[in-house]
């Protein structure tokens, strides 16, 4: 069994469905496996598996202009790989993005290769003036996802939710 929490992944997925998200782009990583599988198994969800996360900015922009709500699943290193698209597509054109970013490299990280990305994630979001919040407890998952989407749509800009170890991972 993967120690990635199936139950909490389900909470996140159901919250996205409640928000009428009908398209998700994803570049899989360990913490996102259940979410990607749920999207793949859902006949009412369009799942777009990407080669690189920045593509997801364009796909979500197209979906938004076409009238469909979407979400992006990525690791924080995928956020790093998406910066130009976020700035010169989503921010330049006032496109709402709902980005769910697995927050690797924070306290508790055992993989050395994740640690530099973790160290810059929050400062990067602040530098990009992207409003963000943490998903670190099941009690607030649904509410925070709904509120994040509300702000993205009212402000016409990207927002980020950091999927934290305490929520996503079942070992300490």
């Amino acid at each position: 069994m993967s120690p990635v929490s199936t139950a909490h992944s389900r909470l996140i997925y159901d919250a996205l469905k409640t928000c009428d998200v009908r398209l998700m782009s994803a570049l899989p990583e360990t913490w996102l496996v259940h979410l990607v599988r749920m999207a793949d198994e859902d006949p009412d969800m369009t799942l777009v598996r990407l080669a690189k996360e920045e593509e997801g900015v364009g796909i979500s922009a197209g979906a938004h202009l076409a009238g469909v709500k979407s979400a992006m699943l990525m690791q924080n290193h995928g956020l790093l790989a998406s910066i130009n698209g976020i700035v010169s597509c989503a921010q330049l054109y006032r496109i709402p993005l709902l980005m769910l970013v697995s927050y690797r490299g924070d306290f508790g990280e055992r993989d050395p290769w994740q640690t530099e990305g973790g160290a810059v994630t929050e400062d990067l979001l602040r530098a990009l003036r992207i409003p963000f919040s943490h998903l670190d407890h099941p009690d607030h998952v649904a509410r925070r996802i709904a509120k994040a989407q509300t702000l993205a749509l009212s402000a016409n800009k990207p927002v980020a939710l950091l999927l934290c170890r305490d929520l996503m991972w079942e070992e300490g």
Partner: protein, 187 residues
């Protein structure tokens, strides 16, 4: 072939299609022929025009989507060709104007000038229909065939490295974006 002549040759086909272009000469030249509410010009974010087209094509399968891309932009998002091919939107025609250079920043040659074949790359990525065309007649024919085929097609149109005298037009980016969104909402 001049890109402007190629655009003129197929302009009448764009009337009821959803059009996404890249920045620079393509956007300025299409606007010089005549802007329409169903045209969106991605004036930055190089590489993402085809991703935007995919997002529209997947969420609005009843609409026909045309993307006008360029060699410099495609080279920045070659992986996007694999995503396009993977989801194979049959309602999308992907035109790549290949002038073998980054024209708007001074004409520096791209890798297509030394042999990189974007149609072959698209085909190898899995795009079911590809073509390389060198004259306006060939381009018009390939475009009409792509529409008739009702399948994802990448047309690489080899064009001269010439463009408009200026790239900034009087259409503001946000005006274009919101009008385009409204067009898609009501049609």
């Amino acid at each position: 072939m001049k890109r402007l002549d190629a655009l003129r040759a197929i302009y009448s086909h764009l009337e009821d299609r959803v059009v996404v272009t890249i920045m620079g000469a393509v956007a300025a030249e299409l606007q010089s022929i005549g802007h329409r509410q169903n045209f969106f010009y991605l004036q930055h974010a190089m590489g993402l025009a085809s991703s935007m087209g995919l997002g529209i094509a997947l969420t609005r399968p009843e609409r026909q989507v045309v993307v006008f891309d360029g060699d410099g932009s495609v080279l920045m998002n070659l992986g996007g060709l694999t995503t396009l091919a993977r989801y194979r939107p049959r309602n999308m025609v992907h035109v790549v104007f290949d002038n073998e250079s980054l024209l708007s920043v001074g004409g520096f040659p791209t890798a297509t000038s030394t042999g990189t074949d974007l149609a072959a790359i698209a085909a190898a990525a899995g795009v079911p229909r590809t073509a390389t065309v060198r004259t306006v007649d060939e381009f018009s024919r390939a475009f009409a065939e792509a529409i008739a085929a009702q399948d994802l097609t990448t047309i690489v149109a080899k064009v001269d490295a010439v463009g408009p005298s200026k790239y900034v037009t009087d259409l503001s980016l946000l005006e274009n974006r919101f009008a385009f969104q409204r067009y898609l909402a009501i049609t």
